[in-house]
């Protein structure tokens, strides 16, 4: 494989004595979508949060487009933080509970990173934010506050907030799990659209249909390890591990 966009090597995470992740190795190819599935508590969200170091791994390394998130060259906390801030601005993240800034309107939410991280002028930032909100179908909600938007609309604002930074990779942490069923499709449509445009995406999801249709590769996790990994056809049609079979049986025959 050519140089991957995301390379995870030997990643482990403990919370006290509780081992959430054990020896994770994963490469994500440029322009591909990887779906991470697995039972709750399998460590899939923690893995995603380790990729941009919202959760600092206990051991192991993460590289984004060849750049490591931590380096032994950084002596001070300030240097480490600086490196992390730069890399995080190249990794978009979408959360299960949206986490929009409630005191900012939709367009201000999207502008925030452009202003405080990229130091754009407010009028430039507003133009870009407006274009991005139009792209996710919210051109008529620029000045609405999060409390005035539906869950699906809030999540699309959150996607725009991440996308406007032109990230190299997007992380979706159960982005549709908190949505009413009839709103899920709006968000999935945006995500499908992004995948088809060649954005690198890592998607933790319970939407098996989405994983099957959109993902190039599906990763099944359980007990803090990657149990198996492969193209959706092989994972969904002919899983090799007993744990994968059991999990898929549960989620597919509801």
């Amino acid at each position: 494989m050519a140089d991957p966009m995301v390379r995870i090597e030997g990643l482990g995470k403990h919370f006290g004595t509780h081992e959430v992740l054990r020896g994770i190795d994963l490469d994500v190819e440029k322009g591909s979508t990887v779906a991470i599935i697995g039972p709750s508590g399998s460590g899939k969200s923690t893995l995603l949060r380790c990729i941009n170091h919202l959760e600092v791994p206990t051991v192991g390394t993460v590289e984004i487009d060849g750049q490591p998130l931590t380096s032994s060259a950084d002596r001070t906390r300030w240097q480490r933080e600086r490196r992390l801030n730069v890399l995080r601005s190249q990794v978009g993240m979408v959360f299960q509970r949206f986490n929009l800034f409630p005191h900012r309107s939709a367009v201000q939410n999207v502008m925030e990173g452009l202003i405080s991280v990229r130091h754009l002028r407010p009028d430039e930032a507003r133009e870009q934010a407006k274009a991005m909100l139009e792209r996710v179908g919210l051109g008529n909600k620029l000045d609405s506050y999060p409390s005035q938007l539906s869950g699906g609309q809030q999540q699309r604002v959150a996607i725009a907030r991440a996308l406007v930074m032109q990230p190299k990779v997007m992380l979706f942490d159960e982005a549709t799990s908190a949505l009413d069923p009839e709103l899920v499709e709006d968000v999935l449509m945006v995500m499908r659209d992004l995948a088809s445009q060649g954005l690198t995406m890592i998607v933790v999801t319970h939407e098996m249909g989405f994983a099957r249709d959109v993902a190039k590769s599906v990763v099944f996790m359980d007990g803090g390890v990657i149990v198996e990994q492969g193209p959706p056809d092989s994972i969904f049609v002919a899983p090799t591990h007993e744990r994968t079979k059991m999990f898929l049986k549960k989620v597919l025959h509801r």
Binding site: N52, L54, R77, E81, N85, V86, L87, R88, S89, Q90, V91, G92, M93, F95, R97, N99, L100, F101, P102, H103, S105, E112, G113, S116, V117, S144, Y145, P146, S147, Q148, A158, R161, A162, M165
Partner: protein, 223 residues
């Protein structure tokens, strides 16, 4: 026993001056206390352990000792180590140090009450710790602490009456002086009680207005 306010009313310029002094000491101490409170709250939440310990020590000390003792310490105590402060300066410093301790805990409570997801969202777009604090967390925390901070402001206004003990001519001191001349203690103390009450009612109402104004400005009720 009948109440006779005529002697008090004829002294209204003195009460007016006292009221102005009380308002002046309240506002100057409050501005300083808010600054101290914010810095100490941030120190209390800092990732540098000694800063956290110092902030904790300051808060515990200020909240664990009487305000009157703190005022005496600054005004009567510090001169013995060569720091001579005039009564008004000592008054403002002592009140600000006292109130800053309470405000620090109120502010810290407001900051930690903001959902972790807010910090995570801010950091995930690449914002620094400080930038996230200043642009995302503090504006939301500020709105949330208004009721408690207004309560502390009220305490501060009432606390200025302690300054009568170091001869600062605020309301309570004025009342004492007037009583000494007119022998009308009930009337004099009723008069200043009413004035304190009106000042604090204004603070309570102002806080409600500020809260609803900022809530509307920030797009209505938050989840």
């Amino acid at each position: 026993m009948g109440l006779d306010f005529s002697a008090i009313l004829s002294r209204w310029p003195e009460f007016w001056n006292g009221t102005q002094a009380t308002v002046f000491y309240s506002i100057t101490s409050l501005s300083l206390a808010v600054t101290i409170g914010l810095l100490v709250a941030l120190a209390r939440l800092s990732f540098i352990p000694p800063l956290r310990w110092l902030a904790r020590l300051y808060i515990d000390f200020v909240r664990g000792t009487p305000a009157l003792v703190q005022i005496f310490f600054v005004y009567f105590g510090l001169p013995s180590v060569g720091i001579n402060l005039s009564a008004p300066v000592a008054a403002v410093i002592a009140l600000a140090i006292n109130s800053g301790g309470y405000l620090a805990e109120i502010f810290r409570g407001g900051i930690v009450s903001i959902d972790r997801g807010q910090t995570e969202a801010a950091r995930s777009v690449g914002m620094s710790h400080w930038s996230a604090m200043r642009r995302i967390i503090l504006p939301q925390a500020g709105l949330r602490v208004i009721p408690a901070a207004a309560g502390e402001f009220t305490n501060l206004v009432k606390g200025t009456s302690l300054l009568s003990t170091i001869s600062v001519m605020e309301l309570t001191r004025v009342a004492q002086v007037v009583v000494g001349v007119t022998f009308k203690p009930i009337e004099a103390y009723i008069a200043i009680a009413v004035i304190y009450f009106v000042l604090n009612a204004a603070i309570a109402q102002g806080a409600l207005w500020l809260e609803s104004y900022l809530t509307n400005k920030q797009g209505g009720a938050h989840g």
